[in-house]
Amino acid sequence: MSQELYTNIAIFVLSILVGFEVISKIPATLHTPMMSGANAIHGVVVVGTILIALEAHSILFYVIAFIAVFLASVNVAGGYVVTDRMLTMFSKPKKSDDQSQDGGEK
């Protein structure tokens, strides 16, 4: 195994563990925005598609590259925008008449 491959595998494994650790602390209330946020993060695939688009040298590869770039950029733009929209709803300023609901049980 090359040094390069070993490094990549190590990074892969450690990232999965970090992912488990970070995600398991997120409350169920925020699971939809979190999932959507994670969705945006896999939009990083756009980086790969940019690289292949610039390597393309014939019609077949132009087609594949175009599909890849288009799909990935839908992913990355849509993911971040919709997550932001959702989270705006969670951070709306509370109205002044909301103070009476602390817990509800006495």
């Binding site: 990549n8 990074i11 892969f12 990232s15 970090v18 992912g19 488990f20 970070v22 995600i23 602390k25 169920a28 925020l30 699971h31 939809t32 925005p33 999932m35 946020g37 994670a38 969705n39 945006a40 993060i41 896999h42 990083v44 756009v46 790969g48 940019i50 690289l51 292949i52 688009a53 610039l54 390597e55 040298h57 077949l60 590259a65 599909i67 890849a68 770039v69 288009f70 990935a72 950029s73 839908v74 992913n75 990355v76 733009a77 849509g78 993911g79 971040y80 925008v81 919709v82 932001d84 929209r85 959702m86 989270l87 969670f90 109205k95 008449d97 909301d98 609901q101 509800g104 049980e105």
Partner: protein, 471 residues
């Protein structure tokens, strides 16, 4: 390593750190929005660095660059428009669509790089293995997510679609995938094996998703989210790009955890859900019309009295509420009550809505304060002191039968609605929920049923409550 590559590598590392920090900040509503922005900054850094590499290598053809720009503009535009205009009730299908495009893009990267190899040239395992995985996972995700999107959007029947010989066909397709993967990996480059792998994976994605019922879709979307992450990670191995490897692995882990949590909240294994066909014993139509004698009906007027004289009210929303688009009415009712010093809270089951946490988003959209949304455990500790529980469009998650042995939902974590002093259920009919069994809560002595559409029912309740509150 040249200076440029050193800088680029370090910046990729920073962008990866941004994703982790961003996700970490999504723990609380206060920091969540900034967390998403931190993650977006990481993404922008990664994209800029990629353009730096591209400019430096300067190998691009005119056409290639043109295609890149056009693809980016169209994709970013389309994605932004969809994200801006989507209704919050339609969020699950949008997330599923983004899974599809992400998986598709990852599979395209693998296809591109493999086809770039001269036919017959020797393959390195370290290259061909991730290519094969990328194609299989990416392909399954692409077609499977599109089917899931269609089911969630109602364009494809939400009912499990099964046909004779489906199991056999599945087995055949799996064998084709395995064989073609071995051929793709183990022998000299041959584009036909690659195409076979891709096609078989696409077919499998469809076969895997069509037998799964609509109510299980949240788990499937979550699982496919994990798949997309893994596919992106594999694409990272193929083009030796660590930004893709790290981000993909993070998402893979996130999706996996959510999938397991959702399955646990439904008291079923992930395998059982994927096997599909659940809920085919469709008893809805049969049971809908007969109302058992021990079920008590009520009117909006009576509910209004109950609410007006209550101290603590718990609203238990389910998917029926979202389907009827009654969030605004519910929030209006809650506001009316809180304005008269009646405590209102929402008891939210983990699988309420169409994806994990979906109900919370729908309530947040209509300005329900975050601290009124109670999760399962907290809500359950509050029912004993609740005067009126208002169940709107929720069914199986409130069924006390889950506490007994030998029922379809035995062991499923439920909301202890039956422990509150009185219960009002707004429902169109006595039809069963997804599990296909009668809800014992409905025939409880304390329970009154208001047979109505959620939206119309709540509007009537608001009107009558206003009368009794002297408005």
């Amino acid at each position: 390593m040249s200076l440029l590559m050193t800088i680029v590598s370090l910046m990729y590392l920073i962008s990866a750190a941004c994703y982790v920090i961003g996700l970490h900040m999504m723990r609380t509503p206060k920091t969540a929005r900034n967390g998403n922005r931190v993650s977006a900054v990481g993404m922008i850094i990664a994209v800029i660095m990629t353009f730096l590499i591209a400019l430096h290598q300067n190998e691009a053809t005119m056409t290639g660059s043109l295609i890149l720009v056009v693809g980016l503009v169209l994709g970013l535009g389309y994605g932004t428009i969809r994200a801006r205009t989507v209704e919050m009730t339609d969020m699950p299908q949008l997330v599923s669509l983004f899974n599809a495009v992400g998986g598709g893009a990852a599979a395209a990267i693998g296809t591109f790089d493999y086809l770039s190899m001269a036919a017959g040239s020797h393959l390195h395992f370290a290259f061909s293995f991730p290519v094969a995985l990328d194609l299989v996972i990416g392909g399954i995700t692409f077609s499977g997510s599109l089917i899931a999107t269609g089911k969630l959007a109602g364009k494809i029947s939400g009912k499990p679609i099964t046909f004779p010989g489906a199991k056999l066909l599945n087995a055949v397709v799996v064998i084709v995938i395995l064989v073609s993967v071995v051929l793709t990996i183990g022998f000299a480059a041959n584009s036909w094996w690659l195409i076979l792998t891709l096609c078989a994976s696409l077919v499998f994605g469809i076969l895997m998703t069509i037998p799964i019922g609509g109510a299980d879709m949240p788990v499937v979307v979550s699982l496919l989210n994990a798949f997309t992450g893994l596919a992106v990670s594999m694409a990272g191995f193929v083009i030796d790009n660590q930004a893709l490897i790290i981000a993909g692995a993070l998402v893979g882990a996130a999706g996996t955890i959510l999938t397991l949590q959702m399955a646990a909240a439904m008291n079923r294994s992930v395998m059982n859900i994927i096997a599909g066909g659940f809920g085919t014993g469709d008893s809805n139509s049969a049971a809908a019309d007969d109302i058992p004698v021990n079920v008590k009906e009520t009117t909006a007027d009576d509910v209004g009295v109950q609410l007006a004289y209550a101290n603590n009210v718990m609203i238990v929303p389910g998917y029926g509420l979202a389907a009827a688009q009654a969030q605004h009415e519910v929030a209006e009712l809650a506001k009316l009550l809180t304005d008269h010093d009646i405590n209102v809270n929402y008891a939210i089951h983990p699988v309420a809505g169409r994806m994990p946490g979906h109900m919370n988003v729908l309530l947040a959209e209509v300005n329900v304060p975050y601290d009124q949304m109670k999760q399962l455990e907290e809500a359950n500790s509050m029912f004993e002191n609740t005067d009126v529980s208002l169940v709107i469009g929720a069914n199986d998650v409130t069924n006390p039968a889950a506490r007994r042995k030998g029922t379809a939902i035995t062991g499923m974590p439920i909301l202890d609605v039956d422990k509150s002093k009185s219960v009002v259920v707004i429902k169109r009919s006595m039809s069963t929920g997804y599990a296909g069994i009668q809800n014992e809560l409905f025939s409880d002595d304390k329970t009154h049923m208001l047979f109505s559409d959620a939206k119309k029912g709540i509007q009537e309740i608001i009107a009558s409550t206003k009368e009794y509150l002297d408005e």
